[in-house]
């Protein structure tokens, strides 16, 4: 029998490296927890009972599979076949729940009773709070005060589901600082607590675990497009902050060399340092939050503050697998500025009757950018990952559009 070897299965290696990226840049105090997590995760993967529990919850609680929706009006507009992977229809409103459920089940398996998590836009916080409510786990969500202001509704939703929101006042008061505070909590409480990290970032084995739990997006999309079109797509487009929705949809297509993978970073208000959150485009390799990957930093190696209309992309680092995909050229990364993201946000609302999250609006905006620079071929098939819905963004969108609610 011929064994097919898939390149995408070779990463990370035993040291948690994706090429030269990734690794374990964590305090010694956390190493036992990371080792325990890796061992439990590897065991869970082999355990049919765990897999069945996960599959059942993804189906009945999350509502998978999510549709691959043929967006007829967008398609007509662009002269290409545009499909939207509807992660916005997943329970709690974004792809984040796929990983939250998976890691919450792992938490139970490790015999831990307390979960902590960071959140930027609040979507991961909401997803984690929901998973913890369901599984009876104590839950604390670290959220920057600036993000609590931008995402008041999500902070409230988190509390409604019984979790505590811990306001982070340090640094830039956004996602980066929420991760710092969650790490500090974990350093102190790792014996009893699992850090349910929400993006494909952090020390090994997190980038791998998050990728694996999010790969359900790409596996479904691949099957769905083959059923709908009888062939693979020409392009797959996703927004990239830490990069979990993007790696989730990219990963099952990595070995399909003809499928172009495009990651869209937050261009904020421009390329100047401090005014965007595009680590892969404007950053350089460095060590942040446990892994070696592209980061936005100054000449002294200090991490820069970031800016984006979208709280979920407002992060100065990115998952190490994306750094590898950039360096190998397997994926291409580009930026969309706030103004273009907001225009795409409105366009999708009007053309398709779908209100996207501001994060996902960056991926939609890439369609417009591609058309402008001649990157769209007539009739080609494109899948855009619609990673979340925009209900949480009403205040931000209204104020950006000059409307008072």
């Amino acid at each position: 029998m011929i064994q097919s070897t898939k390149k995408s299965q070779e990463y990370p290696n035993a040291a948690g490296r994706f090429g030269s990226f990734g690794g374990v840049f964590a305090p010694e105090s956390l190493m036992f927890a990371l080792e325990l997590l890796e061992n439990e995760y590897l065991a869970a993967r082999q355990d049919p009972l765990f897999q069945r529990q996960l599959d059942d919850l993804l189906k009945d609680f999350v509502g998978r599979e999510t549709p691959l929706y043929y967006a007829r009006n967008l398609s007509e507009h662009f002269g290409a076949k545009i499909y939207l992977k509807r992660e916005d229809l997943a329970h709690t409103g974004a792809h984040k729940i796929n990983n939250a459920i998976g890691q919450a089940l792992l938490t139970k398996r490790m015999g831990k009773q307390r979960v902590i998590a960071e959140t930027g836009a609040g979507q991961h916080g909401v997803a984690t709070a929901a998973a913890c409510a369901l599984l009876g786990l104590e839950c604390v969500i670290y959220m920057g005060v600036e993000d609590i202001r931008r995402q008041t509704l999500n902070a409230f939703r988190i509390r409604l589901m019984g979790a505590e929101v811990c306001a982070v006042e340090s640094g830039s008061k956004t996602l980066k600082d929420a991760i710092n505070e969650a790490m500090r909590d974990w350093v102190t409480n790792a014996q009893t607590t699992h850090y349910l990290i929400g993006s494909a970032v952090g020390p090994h084995p997190f980038p791998r675990i998050v990728r694996d739990f999010q790969s359900v997006i790409g596996k479904e999309a691949r099957r769905q497009i083959l059923a709908a079109e009888g062939r693979l797509p020409d392009k797959v487009i996703a927004c990239v902050g830490g990069g979990s929705n993007a790696i989730g949809i990219f990963h099952p297509f990595i070995d399909d060399a003809a499928v172009e993978l495009i990651g869209v970073e937050a261009g904020g208000s421009g390329p100047e340092p401090g005014y965007n959150a595009a680590s892969l485009t404007y950053g350089s390799p460095g060590a942040l939050h446990g892994s070696y990957s592209y980061v936005l930093q100054n000449d002294d190696g200090q991490i820069l503050e970031t800016q984006s209309v979208s709280a979920g992309l407002d992060y100065p680092g990115v998952g190490p697998e994306h750094s590898m995909l950039k360096e190998t050229g397997r994926a291409r990364y580009t930026t969309i500025e706030d103004v273009a993201a907001l225009a795409a946000f409105q366009a999708l609302c009007r053309m398709e009757g779908i209100i996207p999250a501001l994060e996902s609006a960056h991926a939609i905006a890439e369609l417009f950018a591609l058309r402008e620079n001649g990157g769209l071929r007539a009739g080609e098939i494109i899948i855009v990952n619609l990673s979340g819905r925009g209900d949480k963004d009403m205040n931000t969108a209204a104020s950006a559009l000059g409307v008072s609610l």
Binding site: A26, S29, F32, A33, V187, D300, Q302
Partner: protein
């Protein structure tokens, strides 16, 4: 082979006391005051001074050092300035200096240049709190030509297998000491020492029998120093000294420096083995 740091522990052992190792963040509250604090630590009888380099995202540090880092960076502190200041301290004090800094600023400068600059500044050891032993090879190799000793951390949660690996790496790299984190947590003052400190220190000692062990994190009071000295070759004090400075230093720098020096003297005096 013995290095500068090992000589320190040979001396303090003869004097039946633990080495007193204060932590001073360079650039906090400003350049001049941090130089004055380092001098005060020397005057108080520091055996080694640990010089902290500020980082924007110090995830192993508690509130005191976080705020100090932020302030130092706002004041324009950089790694280049750090090395210039370390050199001034080395010239004046003749006390072995150890660098405590997160990995990314060192990486950004380039590990070779960072280690060469450190050596030129009179620094003889390097602690990187976000590098576990398995990711330390690059720093070890970069420091070797300049005889910068890599100093590894050990934590109560480290398994015996990990402690053994840390001990072996420390032996191999001719580390000056192992930095034993007294508790599972971040830096910062605490009311009491961890109860299981003796058992933890014993486990590290078994895993690394020939290497001096220093205890840090949470050593805030002379009685903590006194207790820790029973099990360790050195005690490291950071946040408590900063707090001592801060109590009066905001309005009167000289009084802040004096306040830190007074606590340092009491800590040093308490850290006796018998």
């Amino acid at each position: 082979m013995t290095n500068t740091l090992q000589n320190v522990f040979a001396t303090t052992k003869q004097e039946k006391r633990a080495a007193f190792i204060p932590y001073v963040m360079l650039g906090y509250p400003n350049e001049a005051a941090s130089l004055a604090i380092a001098q005060a630590m020397a005057d108080a009888g520091a055996d080694i001074i640990e010089l902290g380099a500020p980082f924007s995202d110090p995830l192993a540090d508690g509130a005191t050092i976080q705020k100090a880092s932020q302030r130092a960076l706002e004041n324009g502190m950089t790694l280049r300035k750090y090395f210039q200041m370390a050199e001034q301290i080395a010239r004046k004090t003749n006390i072995p200096l150890v660098m405590m800094g997160y990995y990314n600023p060192l990486l950004r400068m380039g590990l070779d240049e960072a280690m060469r600059s450190a050596a030129n500044s009179g620094i003889c050891g390097c602690i990187t709190p976000d590098l576990p032993v398995e990711e330390s090879l690059a720093v070890i190799s970069a420091g070797k030509p300049y005889t910068i000793a890599p100093i590894f951390l050990a934590a109560p949660s480290s398994s015996d297998r990990r402690l053994k690996a840390i001990g072996a790496a420390a032996q191999e790299a001719d580390s000056g000491f192992i930095y034993c984190v007294s508790l599972n947590g971040v830096t910062g003052a605490r009311a009491a020492l961890a109860e299981d400190l003796p058992q933890f220190m014993q486990r590290v000692h078994v895993a690394a029998p020939n290497i001096p062990l220093c205890v840090g994190f949470g050593i805030s009071k002379p009685k903590h120093a006194s207790l820790a000295a029973r099990y360790a070759d050195g005690v490291i004090v950071g946040s408590a000294l900063m707090n001592a400075y801060d109590e009066v230093g905001a309005t009167d720098t000289a009084a802040g420096v004096k306040s830190a020096e007074i606590l340092a003297r009491r800590m040093r005096a308490a850290a006796v083995t018998q």
